[in-house]
C-alpha cells in the first residue's frame, strides 16, 4: 500500500519577471511504513515540494500540473482548503527545520499541545495527560511540570523533540520531516535520528525526510530521491544510490560528502557552477550546464534510464558508474 | 523632473487626493483677495448670523463678517505660520542634529537626553505653560511648534550624519584635509535633504493643527486676525443656533490636514519607504 504518490507534479510561482517553475514533473512514492529521503542543495525545490503536499504554497504559487495522491483516494493537488486543513496535523504531520522558531513563543507548550488536539473531544485534563505521555516518549524529563513552561525555557534539542512529539501525537499516516536535525549539533543529531526511528516503528507511519545531509538519509531512510533545480534526477533504494549512483549530479554530491572522503583534504570539494535560473531553464537536461559529461545529446530531454529494481536515473549517460568518473 | 514626480504622485489614489487638496488650499490662500469682494475683518452688524446664501457662501459670524473671506484669509495665516514655523524648526533642528552627530560624544549624549525630555512632554501642557510665560501670541505658536518638531528633525539629521560620517567619500574628503564645515556643507547636507522634505510635508498638518488649536483656545494669533481656530471658537459659542460657523472653521482644517498627510504619505511611500517606521 502506498501512503503518498506524487505524479508529474509541477509548481510555478508568478514573479514580476515571469513565471518561475520551481518543480517540474516530480514523481515519487512513499510506501506504508517506509522512510523516503529527499536530498538536494538548497534551492532545489525541497521546501516547495513540502508546501505543495501540505497545501501551504505561497499566494503566488500554483500547482500547474500533476497529482498528489494521499492514502490512495485523495488528490491533495485538487483538495479544497478546508478538507486539506482537516488532513494537516491529523493524517499528515510536519516537523520543521528551525526548532528555535517552530513553537509559538508566547503560549505555553502545554497550551500548544492541547490546541493541536482540538479535533478530539477529550476533556482538557485528558488532553494534557496525552501531551505528558507524548513528551515522555520523546524523553523530556519531568513532563508534567514542563507543560506550563514556554518554548524559550527549553534547549534547542528539547524543542525539536517537543515538535516531534506534537507531530506524532495524532498518529499520522505520514510524517514530513523538513531538515529536522540541521540546526542541532552532531551528538543531538544522532539522538534525534534514533528517536525518530523508534517512534516511527512504534506508531507505524511513513516518513518523508528532507535533508541535504547524505549521512542522515543513509541512516534513516529506506529509499531516496535526489532533486536538482526542481526535478528528480535519480531515485531508488538508499543502498542502490549510495553504492551505485548513476546520475552525474548524485555522483558529485556523494563525492563532496565530507563523511565519505577517503583521505584528509585541505579543501572540501565542491560542484563547480551555480543553479540555473528557474525562469529560464536550460534546454534538455537541467544539469547539463554544470556537467562534465555533457554533449550534444544532453541538449534534448534525458530518458528515464531504469537500472534494475526501482533505481532510475534521468540521464543520457547513466551507464557510467561512480568509480569510472574519477579516472 | 518635477512633472515626472507629480505624475507619479497623481497615479496613486491617495496622492492624487492629497496633491489636489494641497494645491487648492495653497492657491486659495495666495489668491484670497481676488476670490472674495469682502474685507476679512469688516464688521457689519446688520448681517450678523446670516446663514449660507449666494451673498455669503459660508454665512456670516456674530459680527456680520463674511465667513468665506475669513476662511480664505485664515488660510494665509495658517500656511504662513506653518511654513515659517517649520522653516525655523528645521534650521534649529539641522544645526542641533549636526552638532550632535558631528560633535563630541558627551555633547551628543546631552542633546539626546534633552530631545527625549522635550519630546515626552504632552504638547498642549507645553503650550499652556509657554503661553502662561509669554502671553498669547504668534511667537508662542512658533515656539510650541519648534519644541514639538525640533527633537524629531534633530534626531534624524543626527542619525544620517553618523551614517554618512563613516561613508567612504566623506572619509576620503576628511583625509584630504577638508574642514568640518566644508564636509557638512558639501557632503552631508545634500544627502539628507530628501528625507527632510518628506518629513516636512508630513509635519505641516501637525503645525496647522497646533496653530488652529491654540487659536481656538484663544492662545494663538490675536483677534481680529482671521484664523481657522478663531472661527471655530466664535462658532463654538453659538453652536446651537448658528451651526455654519463651526462648519466653516473646521472644514478647512480637516481638508488641509488630510491633504498634506495624504500627500506626505504618498511621497514617503514612493521615495523613502525607510521612513515608514516613524510615527
Amino acid at each position: 500500500m502506498t501512503v503518498l504518490e506524487v505524479k508529474n507534479l509541477s509548481v510555478a510561482f508568478h514573479t514580476e519577471s515571469g513565471p518561475l517553475e520551481a518543480l517540474k514533473q516530480v514523481s515519487f512514492s512513499v510506501p506504508a511504513n517506509r522512510s523516503v529521503g529527499v536530498v538536494g542543495e538548497s534551492g532545489c525545490g525541497k521546501s516547495t515540494l513540502i508546501n505543495a503536499i501540505l497545501g501551504l504554497l505561497a499566494d503566488n504559487g500554483e500547482i500547474t500540473s500533476g497529482e498528489i495522491i494521499f492514502e490512495g483516494d485523495k488528490d491533495l493537488a485538487r483538495l479544497d482548503p478546508t478538507a486539506m486543513r482537516g488532513l494537516r496535523g491529523l493524517r499528515i504531520a510536519t516537523v520543521f527545520q528551525d526548532p528555535m522558531g517552530a513553537l509559538n513563543p508566547v503560549l505555553s507548550v502545554g497550551r500548544q499541545m492541547r490546541d493541536i488536539q482540538y479535533r478530539s473531544n477529550l476533556s482538557k485534563r485528558d488532553k494534557d495527560a496525552r501531551s505528558v505521555a507524548m513528551l515522555r516518549k520523546v524523553r523530556i524529563p519531568d513532563p508534567e511540570s514542563r507543560l506550563t513552561q514556554f518554548p524559550h525555557e527549553f534547549s534547542g534539542g528539547m524543542k525539536q523533540r517537543i515538535a516531534i512529539a506534537m507531530a506524532l501525537m495524532m498518529e499520522p499516516a505520514l510524517l514530513i520531516a523538513d531538515e529536522p536535525t540541521t540546526a542541532l549539533d552532531a551528538t543531538l543529531e544522532v539522538a534525534t535520528i534514533e528517536l525518530l526511528k523508534d517512534l516511527q516503528r512504534d506508531i507505524g507511519c511513513s516518513v518523508l525526510f528532507i535533508s541535504h545531509h547524505l549521512g542522515v538519509i543513509a541512516e534513516l531512510c529506506d529509499e531516496m530521491i535526489v532533486m536538482y533545480a526542481g526535478e528528480v534526477v535519480e531515485s531508488g533504494t538508499t543502498r542502490e544510490i549510495f553504492h551505485d549512483a548513476r546520475h552525474p549530479y548524485t555522483q558529485k554530491l556523494l563525492a563532496c560528502d565530507p563523511a565519505r572522503l577517503s583521505q584528509r583534504v585541505a579543501r572540501l570539494p565542491t560542484i563547480a557552477g551555480t543553479l540555473p535560473d528557474l525562469r529560464r531553464r536550460p534546454s534538455g537536461c537541467v544539469f547539463q550546464p554544470r556537467c562534465d559529461r555533457a554533449d550534444a545529446q544532453c541538449l534534448t530531454p534525458p530518458p528515464s534510464a531504469v537500472l534494475g529494481g526501482s533505481h532510475i536515473a534521468h540521464c543520457w549517460h547513466a551507464d557510467i558508474p561512480l568509480g569510472a568518473m574519477n579516472a | 523632473m518635477i512633472w515626472r514626480t507629480v505624475r507619479r504622485i497623481m497615479r496613486e489614489p491617495l496622492g492624487a487626493i492629497g496633491l489636489t487638496l494641497v494645491t487648492v488650499v495653497e492657491l486659495s490662500a495666495v489668491f484670497a483677495s481676488g476670490l472674495t469682494s469682502y474685507a476679512p475683518s469688516k464688521i457689519s452688524p446688520a448681517e450678523r448670523f446670516a446663514s449660507p446664501s449666494l451673498l455669503h457662501l459660508l454665512g456670516t459670524d456674530h459680527l456680520g463678517r463674511d465667513l468665506l473671506t475669513r476662511v480664505l484669509y485664515g488660510g494665509r495665516v495658517a500656511l504662513l505660520i506653518a511654513l515659517g514655523a517649520t522653516a525655523v524648526s528645521l534650521v534649529v533642528g539641522v544645526v542641533l542634529g549636526l552638532i550632535a552627530g558631528y560633535g563630541p560624544r558627551w555633547l551628543d549624549n546631552v542633546l539626546l537626553l534633552i530631545f527625549d525630555a522635550v519630546k515626552s512632554f504632552p504638547t498642549v501642557m507645553l503650550a499652556l505653560t509657554l503661553v502662561t510665560l509669554f502671553g498669547p501670541s504668534l511667537y508662542a505658536v512658533v515656539l510650541v511648534v519648534m519644541l514639538v518638531n525640533v527633537p524629531g528633525y534633530a534626531r534624524i539629521i543626527r542619525t544620517q550624519t553618523l551614517v554618512l560620517k563613516s561613508a567612504e567619500h566623506v572619509m576620503a574628503a576628511r583625509s584630504m584635509g577638508a574642514s568640518a564645515g566644508r564636509i557638512l556643507r558639501v557632503h552631508i547636507l545634500p544627502n539628507i535633504i530628501g528625507p527632510i522634505l518628506i518629513l516636512i510635508s508630513m509635519d505641516i498638518p501637525v503645525v496647522v493643527a497646533i496653530e488652529a488649536g491654540m487659536s481656538f483656545l484663544g492662545l494663538g494669533v490675536r483677534p481680529p486676525t482671521p484664523s481657522w481656530g478663531a472661527i471655530l471658537n466664535d462658532g463654538f459659542a453659538n453652536i446651537r443656533d448658528s451651526y455654519w460657523i463651526v462648519i466653516a472653521g473646521g472644514l478647512p482644517i480637516v481638508l488641509t490636514t488630510l491633504g498634506f498627510t495624504f500627500f506626505g504619505e504618498t511621497l514617503r511611500d514612493l521615495f523613502d519607504p525607510r521612513l515608514k517606521g516613524r510615527s
Binding site: V106, H152 | S120, T123, T129, T132, T257, F260
Partner: protein, 315 residues
C-alpha cells in the same frame, strides 16, 4: 530588562526635573509680582508683604529654587491663594475626570484599532485593506478638537442622541458613561488609526514567522492562527505605542474638556491661565507630567510581563 526599566525610570526622573525647572521659572519669571496678582489691586502693602513671605518670595532665587524642589518632593505644590487650599488637593480633585477621559480614549482606540488592524492584515492588498488604510490615515490627520466640535454638533446638537455638557450625575454610572462617549471618542479617534496601522504591520510580520507555519501545518483554523497565535504577539508593540499615546490623549483631553464643558485637569489649567492663577497651572502641569512618565514606565514593564520571553529574564 531590569536595566532597561531602570534606564526608563532615570529618563523619567530627568523629564520630571526639567518640568519642575520650567514650573519654577514660570512662577519666577512671570511679569508682575505673583502676590499682587493673587491679591488683586485693592490689597494693602502689608497684605502683599505677608503673602510674599508666606510664598517665600522674599528669599534669594536659589533658596526659592531649593525650597520649591524640596517641597515638591514631599508632595507640597504650594497653596492655592484664592481658596487657601493645597494646590495638590485642587489638582487631584480634577484628575479622575481626566483619567476617565483618557481611559475612554484608550478603550475606543483599542476596541476599534486592533480589529481593524487584524482585518487589514488578513486582507492584505485587497480593497478592504486599502479602505482601512485611508481611514486610519484620515483619523490620525484630523485634529482632535475638530473631531470634538463636529461630534458635538452632529450627535449632541443636531441628532440629540447624546448629552452635550458636563460629566454626568455623580454616582450615576450610566449617566457618567453616556457623558463620556463623545469626549472620549474625540480623544481616542486618532489612536484608532495609529493602532490599526501598528497592528497591521506587526501582524503581517508575525504571520511570516515559522511558528505560524507550524500552526498551519497542524491544521489549526485560520481564525485561531490569526486571533490567538499571531495576535498575542502582534499586540505587544501596541502597549508601548499606547504609552506614548497617553501623552497625546492628555493633550487632546484639554480640548475635549473645554468643548464638552467637562471638569478635569485641562479645564482647570485653561481656566487658571485666564485668571492668572499660576500655582494651579504649574501644579497641574507637574502632576500631568509625573503621571505621564509613570504611565510610560508602567507600559514598558507591562510589555515585559505579557511577553514570557522577557518575563523570564526578570528571574
Amino acid at each position: 530588562m531590569i536595566r532597561y526599566a531602570l534606564k526608563r525610570l532615570w529618563l523619567g526622573a530627568i523629564i520630571i526635573s526639567v518640568a519642575m525647572m520650567m514650573m519654577f521659572a514660570m512662577v519666577y519669571l512671570i511679569p508682575g509680582d505673583p502676590a499682587s496678582v493673587a491679591l488683586g489691586p485693592r490689597a494693602t502693602l502689608e497684605m502683599k508683604e505677608a503673602l510674599r513671605e508666606r510664598m517665600g518670595l522674599d528669599q534669594p532665587v536659589w533658596r526659592q529654587f531649593v525650597n520649591f524642589y524640596g517641597s515638591a518632593l514631599h508632595g507640597d505644590l504650594g497653596t492655592e491663594v484664592l481658596s487657601n487650599r493645597p494646590v495638590l488637593d485642587v489638582v487631584m480633585e480634577q484628575l479622575p475626570f481626566t483619567l476617565a477621559l483618557v481611559v475612554g480614549g484608550i478603550t475606543w482606540s483599542v476596541a476599534l484599532g486592533i480589529p481593524l488592524g487584524c482585518i487589514a492584515a488578513v486582507r492584505r492588498g485587497g480593497f478592504v485593506d486599502q479602505v482601512i488604510g485611508v481611514l486610519s490615515v484620515a483619523m490620525i490627520a484630523v485634529p482632535s478638537f475638530v473631531v470634538a466640535i463636529y461630534s458635538l454638533l452632529v450627535f449632541a446638537v443636531a441628532l440629540q442622541w447624546l448629552p452635550a455638557i458636563g460629566a454626568g450625575e455623580p454616582g450615576d454610572l450610566a449617566s457618567r458613561l453616556q457623558h463620556l462617549i463623545l469626549p472620549s471618542l474625540a480623544v481616542g479617534l486618532g489612536w484608532i488609526g495609529y493602532i490599526s496601522r501598528m497592528v497591521r504591520a506587526s501582524m503581517l510580520e508575525t504571520l511570516e514567522a515559522s511558528h505560524i507555519r507550524t500552526a498551519r501545518a497542524f491544521g489549526l483554523t485560520e481564525h485561531r492562527i490569526v486571533y490567538t497565535y499571531a495576535l498575542r504577539i502582534a499586540v505587544l508593540p501596541t502597549i508601548t505605542l499606547l504609552g506614548v499615546g497617553i501623552g497625546h490623549m492628555l493633550s487632546s483631553s484639554v480640548f475635549a474638556e473645554i468643548v464638552f464643558a467637562r471638569p478635569g485637569i485641562g479645564k482647570l489649567v485653561y481656566e487658571a491661565i485666564s485668571v492668572r492663577n499660576y500655582p494651579i497651572v504649574s501644579g497641574a502641569v507637574l502632576v500631568t507630567t509625573v503621571f505621564f512618565v509613570l504611565v510610560n514606565v508602567a507600559a514598558d514593564i507591562l510589555v515585559g510581563l505579557l511577553d514570557p520571553r522577557v518575563r523570564s529574564s526578570f528571574n
